[in-house]
């Protein structure tokens, strides 16, 4: 028997070091965590916080305009507010008019479905937020 073979036999006699009994479970727990981490998460284009900010901003703007118009009903208005009075709101409403025109051409069934789907998406969004809390 050669020297190498002898050493191989000697080495094989050394008892193998064993990992802990729950080694596989520990690894698989970490693997499952990894899987959860990498699974796709649905993210809306505009977050709930974003929508809140937009709504708040619009509300403030609306209230502000209403208050200012009440304070200065006509005639003597500070020059700073002139651009506000000269605003032609019909220009802003043009896209809405186009949308309304487009929607009126659609069938009522399709519109009902569209509204239903939109509502479902909204409910889903809100419920997901509540569940997370």
């Amino acid at each position: 028997m050669s020297k190498q073979d002898k050493l191989k036999d000697f080495m094989k006699e050394i008892p193998r070091e064993e990992p802990s009994l729950d080694f596989t479970r520990k690894v698989m727990d970490r693997v499952n965590l990894e899987t959860k981490k990498t699974s796709p998460v649905y993210r809306p284009l505009i977050s709930m916080r974003g929508w809140k900010r937009i709504t708040f901003g619009m509300l403030i703007l609306g209230i502000g305009v209403a208050i200012l118009r009440n304070y200065f009903p006509g005639g003597e208005t500070p020059s700073i507010l002139h651009p506000l009075y000269s605003l032609d709101l019909t220009q802003f409403l043009k896209p809405f008019n186009l949308v309304t025109k487009f929607l009126s051409n659609l069938s009522p069934t399709f519109l009902t479905c569209l509204v239903a789907v939109s509502l479902l998406i909204m409910v889903d969004q809100v419920s997901v937020r509540f569940i997370r809390r």
Binding site: F10, M11, I14, R16, T24, V27
Partner: protein
Amino acid sequence: MDQKSDTYYIAKVLEGDSGSFAPLVERYKHLAFSLSMKIIGRREDAEECAQDAFIKAYRSLENFKGSAAFKTWFFRIVYTTAISKVRGKKTNEVSLEEYKLSDSEMLDTENAVGQLSSEERSVQLHKAMERLDPDEKVILNLYYFEDLSVEEIASIVGLSASNVKIKLFRSRKKLYGQLYNLLKCEDALLW
């Protein structure tokens, strides 16, 4: 007993069945832990290192080309993970003066080791192995314990086959040197 091949489980994992990774863990946990122990030395750290290696393998499973055996590919991950853990850390091994054995002394040592009881031989070999550098321990372990070829070891440790052969020769000689020291010490105590 489950006898399905590694590639079968790898394909299942890549299809999204993460549970199919468990048989691979079960199959290679002993080797991963044993290799980590040889390099790191501390049981807790070695276990953590082996776990990290499995997670790294899981993450990069899609990069496994299948040109090499999964075992070799995975051993390379275990080796690099363990080496990176010990890098920079000072080993607490006792530095012993390297004694160059003559051929006759090597033969005497081998005979002396052969005459020991199996239990005593394991103890002495274990002690001698502990005194080697991590690289040397790994190469000896992979060659003599895991029965890997020189080429497979080369791909794991990132050396050329000829370098592995040289390291293997030197490590073996160093192991005998340590065994010689240990047995000589015991003899001196007996006297």
